[in-house]
Amino acid sequence: MKNLLPPLPRRIAVALVLPVTLIAAWWITSADSQSFYFPPLQMILQTFGKLWFSPQGLSDVEPSLWRLSVGYVAAAFLGIAIGIPVGASRNLRNVLEPVLEFLRAIPPPVLVPVLILFAGLGNEMKALVILFGCIWPVLLNTVAGVRALDEVLAETVRSYRIGGLARLWHFVLPGASPQIFTGLRQSLSIGIILMVISEMYAARDGIGFVLVQYQRTFAIPEMWSGIIMLGIIGIVLSLIFRAIEAWLLGWYHGLRQSQRAG
């Protein structure tokens, strides 16, 4: 029975076994590939290096990330700013909840054609699409988080006459933050989808646009390398998000662990 915690090298090895095997299998089975759609992995990786580590490649990724950041951060701010008063007022919640649930149920990609009407084909359109798609999970989760604030803690805050901004900063925001982060996580996935879709649909630059170009011109190895690039962007953003969440919600993870243990 492996009851002892495995030493670090062993853990790294276990983590790497399957991925390395899969990549090796991909490499080997595609090595002699004549298939048009599935070129050898070797070729893909070579193209990847050529393409994405060049100034050209980076200039394709940069606008995408820029639009995503602007839209996502704006959605986060607005979602939290609106979510807090709505969450705090039972009447506001009752009135707005059906409307908000409807708006969030509209599949975000649908907004791309709609917003093209309003904002044309430029950067604003894409940032707006991301904003409109990302705001709902943040907003609704903020509402849920504010609603679920501990009553005893709320009374403690009142008894010590902590109000206004201090109450918001020290009580409401930290108290709702675990739920808010759940919303932010969902929003990140939606934001990436919208970033890519809006660029595939109507753009002149960006990774979505580039990917569609490769596919249309049958530049297959480049297309595959683009897919891998998009995958890497997704992974890196997810890691950054997790790191930020671990930093801000460290207290929460500790709290939940102690609750589970007790």
Partner: protein, 268 residues
């Protein structure tokens, strides 16, 4: 005892009625009493006696339906700055995202004071409740008794004139409860603060208090205001085995039994 010259806290004709869509509940019918400066008064009663409601009305957290609460001559309309409350659910009344130090310091940040003074108060309060070396720990890393000490330290650092405690030791094990009871008496002596202590534990109320207010069942009135004429110096072992302790205890116990049967003082 000549300490109680001017009343620190006066409750007059307090009445609290809860109304919601389906029914009306008269939790408190008529409660009047006063607490002198520096007194330690316990409130005891059967469960359902509206003790917590009473405390919340006094603390300004709940608006009474009728009657008045006056603290140091000023009527209470919201939580007054000279009061601090210690709740029963210590786990939920401490901020889990702040360290022990920050938990104690937060209410002080509302009272404009120099940072050094604030730090001094925090340090002294934590020392007063006998908590060493937990400044940077989080509340959920501590045991239940230690968490309640943090809550008490927070109240102490606030330098209140009146300390309200709502069954603070109900959720703590017996040995810890004994330690905390002694801690309260020590703090009370040191700080000369006025204490209103709500409990369902009769022994605790007799051990701690100078007076014990016995509550009836809802709609609540005061059944009796019992003077605890035990010596000022009290210890768990000796005081609790005194004959007078047993008498007082028995008296209050029988009052509570009457209360549970619905008996109330005449004309109430």
């Amino acid at each position: 005892m000549d300490r109680a010259v001017k009343p620190m806290l006066e409750v007059t004709g307090l009445r609290k009625v809860y109304e919601d869509a389906s029914r009306t509940v008269e939790a408190i019918r008529d409660v009047s009493f006063s607490v002198g400066e520096g007194e330690l008064v316990c409130i005891v009663g059967p469960s359902g006696a509206g003790k917590t409601t009473l405390l919340k009305c006094i603390a300004g957290l709940l608006a009474p339906t009728a009657g008045a609460v006056v603290v140091e001559g000023t009527p209470v309309i919201g939580p007054p700055p000279s009061m601090a409350v210690v709740f029963q659910e210590y786990g939920r009344s401490l901020f889990p995202w702040m360290s022990v130090h920050d938990n104690v310091a937060l209410p002080l940040k509302q009272k404009k004071m120099a940072a050094e003074r604030r730090e001094e108060l925090v340090r002294n309060a934590l020392a007063a409740v006998d908590l060493k070396g937990v400044d940077t720990a989080y509340p959920w890393q501590l045991s239940g008794g230690m968490q309640q000490r943090v809550a008490i330290a927070r109240a102490v650092a606030y330098e209140p004139h009146v300390l309200l405690m709502d069954e603070p030791f109900a959720a703590v094990d017996a040995q810890t409860r004994a330690d905390l009871e002694d801690l309260i008496r020590v703090l009370w002596h040191q700080l000369r603060v006025t204490v209103l202590f709500v409990t369902h534990d009769i022994d605790e109320s007799v051990y701690l208090g100078q007076r014990v207010l016995v509550m009836s069942h809802a709609p609540t009135v005061i059944m009796e205001d019992v003077i605890i004429d035990l010596p000022e110096e009290r210890t768990q072992l000796e005081t609790r085995s005194m004959a007078r302790f047993g008498e007082l205890r028995k008296h209050i116990y029988s009052q509570i039994q009457l209360a549970k049967q619905g008996w109330r003082p005449p004309s109430k």
